[in-house]
């Protein structure tokens, strides 16, 4: 394994300049994700329009893998409904965890997460934001208050 395969340029770039970083005001939903192993903590904010992701942002701190994964996710999921998000999440999950999974060409820059599976200790870093957004969409999040 080459480290450059894990820390690809796109990952380093999203870590340094995370996209859609910040909060969303009500009536957005917020959900918190926490990785007790690393102390990574992030909050995902999502604005749903009849079940379709209209706007999504995140904030928090974490390692490069977790920040880049969250950043790239926010770019990729806008406009998806719950079913389309679930399908994409399943693809990402396979890419992160299955050694023989092909990385679909349709994933675009998310394919950069393909290097993570060689580092089992880091899979949770990459999947944290996805599981948190899944929880937010499923209604496990809490409504953002304007206070």
């Amino acid at each position: 394994m080459d480290l450059k395969d894990l820390y690809r340029d796109v990952i380093l770039d999203h870590n340094k300049r995370p996209r859609n970083f910040g909060v969303l005001a009500a009536p957005a939903i917020a959900a918190q994700g926490h990785n007790p192993l690393c102390g990574d903590q992030l909050t995902i904010y999502v604005d749903l329009d009849h079940g379709t992701i209209k706007e999504v942002r995140f904030e928090g701190s974490g390692c490069a893998i977790s920040v880049a994964s969250a950043s790239m996710m926010t770019e990729a999921v806008k406009g998806l409904d719950a079913a389309a998000f679930a399908a994409l999440h399943a693809q990402i999950h396979a890419v992160l965890t299955q050694h023989d999974a092909e990385v679909p060409a349709t994933l675009g820059k998310l394919a950069a997460l393909g290097g993570v599976r060689e580092y089992p200790a880091r899979v949770k870093c990459a999947s944290l934001s996805w599981r948190t957004l899944e929880a937010a969409i499923a209604g496990a999040g809490t409504a953002v208050t304007t206070e």
Binding site: M1, Y7, C38, G39, S61, C63, A64, A121, R122
Partner: protein, 410 residues
């Protein structure tokens, strides 16, 4: 470099089979000794020899092997007694490790004593194993945990202990060496202050025993806990030293075989010390391995080991402090052989992965000491902790790896 330890480092390294195993195609640079140290042949062989020649259950059979196993197990207890300079083997209780030792004291000593409003005093730099057991007994009894602060170097001022002791303080729990920051605490002074107020003291010695000579009588400690696997010994075996007068008055913690003299449904008589606290079949091969580990480090000499580790610490501090953007977390004047640090722009976990790719094993995270780390306003640190077999070249490999990571993340 011509600086060398007062023992033959090359020969010592050859004693540890894992050190010659390549990791990710590179020579292993093992700098995670604070989490668990590697084992020499002497320990591996002692456990193996026990299994091949002496194993049976202890304290039970009349047959030869049971007697041999008992002799080996009780011989190990005597070895630990000498190691700690305890008065009697009745004061040496085998446990699974430091965590279990502290839980034993929390449940068997503290819990029956605690009333609502009573206080357990601990420092902010404790490992979770010296925080959570007290929180559990406090929840059950209505007592509370009071915290001694640390300064921005990660040091504890014994005067703060004096200030925070109250008529309600029932026990002081302190680390001898901080696992997250490396601070060596002035435990003898803290114990004297607590004793002047009539408060007994438990010392978490997990990080101290591999580096310092421990004399529980000179320290006047009431309880002293440590683990085998941080002392180049087996995992799953640890020790609780307890002052005999305190242990004698404590009820058993767990019930079962070995801890009884007589059992009937009308009433059960508990065994004498230390067996009263060792219910069930103990970790016999672990105790034998621990005794071998003690023999090993004492044959080298703890003073020689700590002298070498001090040189490693100085070299690491010097090399790493030259790296722009690196900040040490824990800069106590009196420090054991470990460095905890953060690097601007790189999360410790990324640093850990990058170093691992270069064969360098360090610990990253909160080191099971979240309150200590949070004091420094960081969620996690990278920690390199040194052992008797580490070399100056390995420190250089660490520093080179940190520079490489910083450049990769630029």
């Amino acid at each position: 470099m011509s600086i060398a330890p007062l023992y033959d480092l090359t020969a010592i390294r050859a004693d540890f089979p894992i050190l010659s195993r390549p990791i990710r195609g590179r020579p292993l640079v093992y700098l995670d000794n604070g989490a668990s140290a590697q084992r020499p042949h002497a320990v591996i062989n002692a456990e193996r020899r026990y299994a091949e020649e002496s194993h049976a259950n202890v304290h039970r059979g009349v047959h030869t092997l049971s007697q041999r196993a008992t002799d080996a197990f009780e011989g190990a207890r005597e070895r630990v007694r000498r190691f700690l300079n305890a008065r009697s083997t009745r004061e040496i209780i085998f446990t699974r490790g430091t965590t279990e030792s502290i839980n034993l004291v929390a449940q068997s000593y503290a819990r029956p004593h605690l009333q609502p409003g009573d206080e357990i005093l601990v420092t902010r730099l404790e490992h979770h194993a010296n925080i959570v057991p007290w929180q559990l007994v406090c929840e059950a009894t209505g007592a509370r945990v009071v915290v001694v602060p640390i300064n921005d170097r990660g040091e504890v001022d014994p005067e703060d202990v004096r200030r925070l002791l109250s008529p309600r303080t029932r026990l002081l729990g302190i680390a001898h060496v901080s696992n997250a920051l490396g601070t060596i605490l002035p435990v003898a002074e803290m114990i004297a202050i607590a004793h002047a107020a009539g408060v007994p003291v438990l010392v978490d010695g997990a990080q101290a025993v591999p580096h310092l000579t421990i004399d529980v009588q000179a320290l006047d400690a009431d309880f002293y806990a440590f683990s085998g696997h941080k002392l180049y010994g087996p995992d799953g075996i640890g020790v609780l030293y307890g002052r005999e007068s305190l242990l004698a008055a404590m009820p058993p913690w767990q019930g079962g075989g070995d801890m009884i003299l007589h059992v009937s449904f009308e009433g059960t008589t508990y065994n004498e010390l230390p067996y009263k606290f060792e219910a069930g079949t103990p970790h016999m091969s672990g105790a034998v391995g621990l005794a071998a580990a003690i023999d090993y480090v004492e044959a080298i000499g703890l003073s020689k080991i700590s002298a070498w580790e001090a040189i490693l610490l100085t070299h690491a501090t010097e090399r790493l402090s030259r790296i722009e953007g690196l900040r040490f977390i824990g800069t106590a004047h009196h420090k054991a052989g470990l460095v905890s640090f953060v690097v601007d722009g790189i999360h410790p976990h990324d640093l850990g992965t990058i170093l691992d790719e270069r064969g360098v094993a360090i610990r990253t995270g909160h080191h099971c000491a979240m309150p200590a780390i949070a004091t420094f306003k960081v969620p996690a640190t990278a920690r390199a902790s040194f052992g008797l077999y580490n070399t100056l070249d390995e420190i250089d490999a660490l520093a080179d790896g940190v520079v490489y990571a910083r450049d990769l993340f630029r």
